[in-house]
């Protein structure tokens, strides 16, 4: 009975989703506790950071201590923070003395744009490359594509960023040197080269994924029978690619952590005011509210993407759906 089967499947799916979301929330909570403890265990002194080494005035120290509740037990401090966050208040950055929510929102716009541009660039280049490699498996084209992807995976993004900088910016002067531009197209223009630096590692991985998945598809029975029925090679490739699309896109989605990790290196080289640099500075300064908000945002993005990817996989892949229903 297909309909009851589908209903059962939907219930199971909903259950899985809520479990995953719960798991994600639990993960975020665990991360916040971990970050809080790490910052508290670390050497260094927030009072000195805020006042500078020169200000030893008792009034100032007392004011800081009271304002940041430094004399309260750590557990109490944590719950005070958690309570505020649950009430929607992310607090004030120690370093910038500005609302954390505003800062993080601003910085993450830069990073998200960068990551999005990089992701699109990587997809645009790596999928054709991977398909070419797969269809001409073993040929010089395959070897070249594989060689490029090995190189791309092996080169740290900051090394790539420096190379791009020296060739295209200082040498050829094709691109702006630094900064984020004035919005719109100008911003895209400013972000293009950093996005390329970020996209190379990702693109290399996607090329490998595409090649692998395509080779697998091309070896399948339906391809053989399509060939037997006289389909042209390009028709066959299109058919295979359609079937390969799901694993390619879902694996691509999972690689988003790769992008998030690379962004700080690229932001540093290209002087982009993104979330990576914000986090780095905040860690150095022991700016707890900012560290918390940025790590949680990054973790949340990763959690959401991984749930979405799994969902996409379940929704789109008939085999998984069938298996889910039969189980």
């Amino acid at each position: 009975m297909p309909s009851s089967r589908t209903a059962l499947w939907a219930v199971r799916l909903l259950g899985t989703i809520s479990l995953r979301v719960l798991g994600g929330l639990f993960l975020l909570l665990a991360i916040s506790i971990l970050v809080f403890s790490l910052v508290h265990l670390s050497p260094g002194d927030l009072v000195t950071n805020l006042l500078g080494p020169q200000n030893r005035s008792e009034a100032a120290i007392a004011a800081i201590t009271e304002r940041y509740r430094l004399d309260e037990p750590p557990v109490q401090q944590y719950f005070a923070w958690l309570g505020n966050v649950l009430a929607g208040n992310w607090g004030t950055s120690f370093r910038q003395q500005a609302p954390v929510a505003t800062i993080v929102a601003e910085r993450s716009t830069v990073t998200l744009t960068l990551v999005a541009v990089a992701f699109v660039l990587a997809l645009l280049v790596s999928i054709p490359l991977g398909v070419v490699a797969a269809t001409s498996s073993g040929s010089w084209r395959d070897q070249l594509a594989s060689g490029i992807s090995v190189l791309g995976i092996s080169a740290p993004s900051f090394v790539v960023a420096f190379l791009l900088m020296f060739f295209f910016v200082s040498g050829l002067r094709w691109f702006p040197l630094y900064g984020y531009g004035t919005g719109g197209l100008d911003t895209l223009w400013h972000l293009f080269l950093p996005a390329v630096a970020l996209a190379i590692g990702l693109g290399a991985m996607l090329t490998k994924i595409t090649r692998t998945v395509m080779i697998r598809e091309l070896a399948k029975d339906y391809v053989t029978s399509a060939r037997a029925r006289g389909f042209t090679e390009s028709q066959i490739n299109r058919l295979a690619l359609r079937n390969a699309a799901i694993p390619i896109v879902t694996s691509g989605g999972l690689v988003v952590t790769f992008l998030v990790a690379g962004t700080i290196l690229v932001e540093t080289v290209f002087a982009l005011p993104g979330i990576g640099r914000l986090l780095y500075d905040a860690v150095i300064y022991k700016d707890l509210p900012t560290v918390q908000a940025s790590t949680l945002l990054i973790a949340a993005v990763i959690v959401v993407v991984s749930i979405a990817v799994d969902l996409l996989y379940v929704l789109l892949d008939p085999r998984v759906r069938r298996r889910g229903a039969e189980a």
């Binding site: 080494p53 020169q54 003395q97 040197l177 150095i284």
Partner: protein, 527 residues
């Protein structure tokens, strides 16, 4: 390189005596590619700025911006002498009482008149450690009262010759409207509440760690600025700054790493000017930490530092071997540079001499040598090199120095932690007050745990001095007493470099003006 800067450490001020004019390489004045024609000057900063109120973030660039946009009661003229700002006159009626007469015609950048309430509110904000944690100049102030329609009287707890430097925008007072202080709240100094001051330039745009835009205020009645708009870009990477300058994206870089000066100079399209900046770089010994409680140990270390080699090789000659906690420009009002150098060098010196170092160590409590840790901030490559060189030399007399790189905040927290017996100091005074640094170094609870009644007496006489001359005499005395005890070992007096693409000159910029006056007014298009 990511640094959190306090005033200590990062430094700049332009010195009067050094070559003032950046040689204008007849470049066309059509201005920058970045900004949009004449009227916009594009400047590069190396350090980030995250808050525009120096009471919250007191880095050197923060003071630059503040000096261009805000005023206090007083200011300092190009020779370093205190002059009026929002106060037209002031009088010290007794050692503890200062009466300021306020300008009744000043306007904020939004066109509103400056009232006495605005000034009082700004002073109260500066005195409040919660609002202004970084400001330290008001500790000795007892009362601040309005004593007339346009008169404010400030009384002190004890006589203090340094006080008069405090209520200026190079130290501890930034006058904004009373309504700004009320409404800004947590957003003080951020893009959501851009400060409104009385200076010639108004802050019109701020993106933390990225860009600050200043525009000439229509309500400024002093000398006119040559540039309608100043656009400051934060470019942390020095190589990128150099490229930006080469390509005309930036007209003036306010930050040139001292080690790279010669590299920048070899570039034909760039003019580099190096200027003494009154900064002090030295070693601090904590006399509460063994074995540095033994002067022989301190002497051995001081004799092991090859100051001339660092100045010549590491800093490319862009520095001067220091002989005192005071620097020659601070004595400029009284003595010629030669006289000043002679006076400063009269104190006990511990020049580079490994034999003397070995002899001192042999006489010490640890004749077989010892192990100590020296941390250096990662923001200063020259300090890393100095640490390594000192380590090399100390190894020869049997002392093991362990060197470690730390971030600037961690470096600050090692200062006076009573665990590190030896540490680096890098300090650039922002005010013209010759006592600014010494009061901290030799005052109560100082970094070196140094106590001496003679030094206290000298400092007190400087504080209670009624003239600059007697203030400086007291400071010289205190400085030479500490030199005899060798708790602070001066290494070099620093310089700061500025680089332009040839389109702009800093016309008549002096020692003190980068911090204490509206320095952007001195930026002129090259002829």
């Amino acid at each position: 390189m990511i640094t959190t800067k306090k005033r200590i450490g990062v430094g700049a001020a332009i010195l009067a005596s050094a070559g003032l004019l950046l040689s204008g390489c007849a470049a066309p004045t059509t201005g920058s590619d970045a900004g949009g024609g004449v009227g916009t000057l594009s400047l590069a900063l190396g350090d980030s700025i995250t808050n525009l109120y120096p009471g919250i973030e007191a880095g050197v660039p923060n003071y630059w911006i503040a000096a261009a946009t805000a005023e206090g009661l007083v200011s300092v003229d190009p020779s370093g002498e205190v002059t009026g700002a929002l106060a037209t006159a002031w009088e010290q009626t007794d050692p503890l009482t200062y009466v300021f007469t306020i300008d009744d015609g000043a306007l904020f950048q939004d066109g509103s008149a400056v009232t006495i309430d605005d000034i009082v509110a700004s002073i109260e904000a500066a005195r409040d450690p919660e609002i202004s944690p970084s400001i330290i100049t008001w500790g000795n102030v007892d009362t601040v009262t309005q004593t007339g329609d346009w008169e404010i009287t400030i009384t002190l707890l004890s006589p203090d010759a340094s006080f008069i430097y405090g209520p200026s925008s190079s130290a501890g007072l930034f006058v904004f409207p009373a309504s700004y202080w009320e409404s800004a709240g947590d957003a003080l100094g951020t893009a959501a509440a851009l400060p409104i001051g009385t200076g010639p330039y108004q802050i019109t745009g701020f993106s933390p760690d990225s860009n600050i835009t200043l525009e000439l205020s229509e309500y400024w009645d002093g000398d006119a600025g040559s540039y309608e708009t100043l656009s400051f870009d934060v470019i942390p990477d020095a190589n990128t700054r150099l490229l930006a300058l080469e390509g005309g994206d930036v007209n003036l870089s306010l930050s040139v790493p001292v080690q790279q000066i010669s590299e920048w100079q070899t570039n034909e399209s760039i003019d580099v000017t190096t200027i003494e900046d009154r900064s002090y770089i030295g070693l601090t010994f904590d006399t509460a930490v063994a074995p540095f409680d033994d002067q022989n140990v301190r002497n051995a270390v001081a004799h092991s530092f090859d100051r001339q080699a660092v100045v010549d090789q590491v800093l490319g000659g862009n520095a001067e071997v220091a002989t005192s906690l005071l620097s020659p420009p601070q004595l400029a009002a009284l003595y010629s540079p030669e006289e000043a150098r002679e006076k400063l060098a009269a104190a006990q010196q511990y020049g580079f001499d490994l034999d003397a170092a070995a002899a001192a160590l042999a006489k010490s409590s640890v004749p077989q040598g010892f192990t100590a840790e020296l941390v250096y901030p990662d923001a200063y490559p020259e300090l890393q090199l100095s640490a390594e060189l000192l380590k090399q030399n100390l190894a020869e007399i049997g002392v093991t120095l362990e060197t470690r790189s730390v971030t600037t905040p961690d470096w600050f927290s090692t200062m006076g932690d009573r665990e590190h017996g030896i540490g680096f100091m890098h300090y650039t005074p922002t005010t013209a007050d010759p006592a600014e640094m010494i009061n901290w170094f030799l005052g109560p609870d100082n970094l070196a745990s140094f106590e001496s009644s003679e030094v206290d007496a000298a400092l007190t006489s400087a504080r209670e001095a009624d003239s600059l001359e007697s203030q400086i005499d007291g400071l010289l005395e205190a400085s030479s007493l500490q030199a005899a005890a060798n708790v602070y070992s001066p290494l070099w007096w620093g310089q700061r470099a500025f680089a332009t693409d040839g389109s702009v000159v800093l016309d008549g910029v002096t020692s003190f003006s980068m911090f204490t006056s509206a320095w952007p007014l001195q930026l002129k298009p090259a002829a």
